[in-house]
């Protein structure tokens, strides 16, 4: 069964994924709204940057973050490398597109007419956003939350680079599996792997199940 170290890895993973998802919803919502509405010529640059983690090897992202957050970087002795905070920062970058893109798609799909109608009904832009845009984009928020969370649970490369592998502090499940395999502890590796497989499948089942009713992902 699971060792104490595995249990603490599970807790760290859940804490990391929850915190990362919350931060991403806070940052990603205004960013996605801006991307969905802006006519600015430089917008593709921002879109490309947001999408980078989709194609970049996670170790590359992790490497640059290590340089940036490490003791020799601008933070100096306040280095965040190999800390839980460092993990959160890394995860936010890594999972950014998984939150921003569903939100951007959901916002872009909202008929402008609703926003104009709200304005003629005395709703300020802020009021319109919360009373009209958010409820209409609810399926997008659901997808963004589930994908952001699940993707953070599944990350490996970035965490390894920036968090190291400190049990009880920065060791997450995916790395615990790696370590068990290295030590030929296949039984433990099976337990955790099977658990993660089940969790990921359940989350996606929720998304696609709701999608049938609400259209969460896809065209």
């Amino acid at each position: 069964m699971l060792t104490d170290a595995d249990l603490s890895a599970l807790l760290i993973t859940l804490k990391l994924a929850t915190l990362t998802t919350l931060i991403l919803l806070l940052i990603g919502t205004p960013l996605a709204w801006w991307l969905a509405r802006s006519q600015w010529r430089g917008k593709p640059v921002i879109e490309a940057v947001v999408a980078l983690p989709l194609v970049l090897p996670p170790t590359v992202l992790g490497f640059y973050l290590l340089i940036l957050l490490g003791a020799n970087g601008p933070l100096g002795e306040h280095s965040l490398a190999f800390t839980f905070s460092g993990l959160v920062i890394g995860s936010v970058f890594y999972s950014l597109p998984f939150v921003v893109q569903p939100l951007q798609g959901a916002f872009a799909a909202i008929n402008r007419g609703y926003i104009e109608a709200a304005a003629t009904l005395r709703a300020s832009p802020r009021d319109t956003f919360f009373a009209v845009v958010v409820p209409l984009a609810r399926p997008g928020f659901l997808t963004a939350t589930v994908l952001g969370f699940a993707h953070t649970v599944g990350e490996f490369g970035v965490v390894l680079m920036i968090g190291g592998n400190i049990p009880g502090q920065t060791q997450v499940l995916s790395i615990a599996i790696y370590e068990h395999v290295e030590n030929l502890e296949y039984a433990q590796a099976h337990w955790i792997s099977g658990g993660l497989l089940l969790l990921s499948f359940s989350l996606l089942l929720v998304v696609y199940g709701l999608n049938r009713r609400f259209r969460v992902v896809g065209p």
């Binding site: 109608a117 319109t128 009209v132």
Partner: protein
């Protein structure tokens, strides 16, 4: 109170250039062919076209001026879009509450009054997805009224509706006209709607104001589009002055028509003293030099020829005046020659059909 509009917009080939000042009372129809800028003008007044330059004032309130642009949500107006645009995540009641909660402190019609006027009491609990086209527009109208607007903008609310739905919404718009003193701008490209609802007419073509004035005058000016159309008609404001009980006829005296100018209309349900609007199509009016002694036509009015204009190769449109009230008659050029029609000539108009429009 008046509505001052000076708006300029350039978008590709299209150019909007409107300078006009309308009396802000009753219903002003903005009339013109598709693509002439009617909807753009309405959107500009609402503040939904931020790139439009110029000035908009309603009474003392400046909505737009040099360096000043009041955002749409701060303009006290109601807007009914062509496709209703009800919020799909809210019920009918939720849509109405959305507007009611955001209205300012100013006086305005109450919830129950608006619901009754729109005739949507039985729909309040319904989901907006399950409404017919006519029901959607009535909910949209009620929603706009609940913001207590000082100006109501209607963008072809009937255009997307079938006959049945039009028949439902029209009485609702007429009740609105009678019971609320909110000035209305009504965009339309259908002359029959305009004849029923409007008091003033603003004619637009290719982004410019062609003419603007009282409905009866605008409809009968021979240089303007409405009199050139197949459906050309005149409207007459009249008062019920009596009835013929034996034959079930209503007698109508028309304002400014002078002594002895009256019309008979089948039916006798209207109370005496009631003001009504009548429509007389140009194709239903014929001309004669002598009043016929024996004719099935009841309505024969002494008129004077005011203007003539060719209407196609075979016909001519004649503008007539019964004292101050303008009328139109479409006759053949052959008849024009036979009667020797000329401006100033006194003759008689035989009105084959009069319809009550309000």
């Amino acid at each position: 109170m008046s509505l001052e509009i000076r708006q300029q917009l350039r978008r590709g080939d299209f150019q909007l250039h409107v300078e006009t000042c309308l009396p802000a009372r009753g219903v002003t129809a903005i009339f013109g062919p598709s693509g002439c800028g009617k909807t753009t003008l309405l959107r500009a007044i609402a503040g939904l076209e931020p790139r439009v330059r110029g000035r908009i004032r309603l009474g003392d309130a400046t909505w737009q001026d040099e360096g000043h642009f009041l955002p749409p949500h701060e303009r006290p107006l109601g807007y009914v879009f062509q496709h209703a645009v009800l919020f799909p995540h809210l019920s009918v009641r939720g849509n109405l509450d959305f507007a009611q909660r955001r209205r300012g402190d100013g006086p305005g019609p109450g919830f129950d009054e608006v619901v009754a006027l729109a005739g949507i009491g039985h729909l309040l609990r319904r989901d907006t997805a399950n409404l017919s086209g006519g029901e959607r527009q009535r909910v949209a109208l009620a929603r706009a009224l609940l913001t207590a607007p000082r100006l109501l903008l209607l963008d072809e609310p009937l255009a997307a509706l079938d006959r049945q739905a039009k028949a439902e919404l029209m009485p609702c718009l007429e009740r609105l006209h009678e019971s609320l003193s909110i000035p209305v701008l009504y965009v339309s490209h259908a002359i029959d709607e305009v004849a029923r609802l409007a008091d003033q007419l603003l004619l637009l073509a290719a982004g410019r104001v062609v003419a603007c004035g009282p409905l009866a005058e605008m409809l009968t000016r021979l240089d303007l589009a409405p009199a050139g159309s197949e459906e050309a008609l005149a409207v007459i404001e009249a008062t019920v002055s009596g009835r013929d009980a034996d034959f079930h006829l209503t007698r109508l005296a028309f304002a400014g028509g002078g002594e002895g100018r009256e019309l008979w209309l089948p039916g006798d349900s209207l109370p005496t003293g009631r003001r009504v609007r009548l429509a007389v199509h140009a194709r239903d009016v014929s001309l004669t030099l002598q009043p016929p002694r024996q004719s099935s036509i009841l309505n024969i009015i002494p008129v004077r020829v005011d203007a003539l204009s060719p209407s196609g190769p075979a016909q001519v449109m004649v503008r007539l005046r019964a004292a101050d009230v303008p009328l139109l008659a479409r006759v053949t050029r052959k008849s024009e020659a036979a009667l020797g029609l000329h401006v100033g000539q006194a003759l008689f108009a035989q009105v084959k059909s009069v319809s009550l429009v309000e």
